[in-house]
């Protein structure tokens, strides 16, 4: 019986870690693919919050009801608070400097519309050059 419970705990832990890792991966892919600074903030600011959160919940499930789990719980709360705040701070800094948000049909990254990604290398820094 206790073997079953341990196995179940392990399965839940692995699932949470995998889903968390998937969101981190999606966020990173978004960070590379999105055209400009602000949309990249969307990718990193959001996916990291849930990705880290899910992985930490997985660790709590694995650790059970210990003091370490409580500390991890506090860690999740701090991430929930700090992540949007820092995202906002970075975005505000860029906006104050005068970085223009990318709009559709902006010629900085026209390969997005043509579907031709071969010359994407030239445009990767387009957002930051302003």
């Amino acid at each position: 019986m206790s073997d079953t419970i341990i196995n179940l705990t392990n399965v839940i832990t692995v699932l949470l870690l995998l889903v968390g890792a998937f969101f981190m991966l999606a966020g990173t892919i978004g960070f590379v693919r999105f055209p400009d600074f602000y949309s990249r903030m969307h990718a990193t600011g959001k996916c990291d919050t849930l990705g880290e959160g899910l992985m930490l919940v997985g660790l709590i499930v694995y650790g059970g009801a210990t003091f370490v789990s409580v500390k991890i719980l506090f860690l999740i709360m701090f991430i929930l608070l700090a992540n949007p705040t820092s995202t906002h701070a970075i975005a505000k800094a860029a906006y104050d400097v005068g970085l223009e948000p990318w709009r559709k049909l902006d010629d900085r990254v026209e390969w997005l519309d043509t579907g031709n990604t071969d010359d994407g290398r030239d445009d990767q820094d387009g957002g930051e050059e302003r």
């Binding site: 978004g30 903030m41 849930l50 995202t87 906002h88």
Partner: protein
């Protein structure tokens, strides 16, 4: 110095110390008491400020708000993951502005952070009453301008 605030801060700080240290011998608890007094003295006027009256009601309402917020965070992540992984990358970023009815700093901070955490929107700046929000596509911007979230926050902080 407000004694009530000092004692409340002291209890919170000391409970936090016990939680993090997880040692209950004389040395650790003793140094916890000393440190908590110093920290509580230095920061007793920081913790209880800006919330005004009915603090307990606000805290309860805020905790009741968290499940909805977490649900929104999950939606946000699925949304961003979809846009990031989709070959066509359906994004149409735009900056939208709207005027808020929230008065207190705490309520505005809560709204700003909630906007950043929910699908497709990031708060850039708050100038006087106006929120500047970067939306990654048209639908999230329209959702935001519907004002559902602002009403929830207003309800929590009793400004409706």
């Amino acid at each position: 110095m407000n004694l009530k605030h000092f004692i409340a801060t002291y209890i919170i700080v000391f409970a936090f110390w016990l939680l993090l240290s997880a040692h209950f011998d004389a040395f650790h608890v003793g140094s916890g008491i000393v440190c908590s007094v110093i920290v509580a003295y230095a920061s007793h006027d920081l913790l209880f400020t800006g919330t005004g009256n009915h603090t307990l009601t606000k805290i309860v309402r805020f905790i009741a708000y968290l499940p909805w917020l977490i649900y929104q965070i999950v939606l946000a992540n699925i949304d961003v993951a979809k846009r990031a992984l989709s070959p066509r990358m359906p994004i149409d970023p735009q900056v939208v502005t709207f005027k808020t009815m929230l008065k207190s700093d705490v309520a505005r901070t809560a709204l700003a952070n909630s906007i950043t955490l929910t699908p497709g929107t990031v708060t850039i700046d708050i100038v006087d009453d106006v929120f500047y929000v970067h939306a990654i596509a048209k639908e999230p911007a329209d959702d935001l301008l519907g004002g559902a979230m602002e009403r929830r926050i207003a309800h929590i902080f009793m400004e409706d």
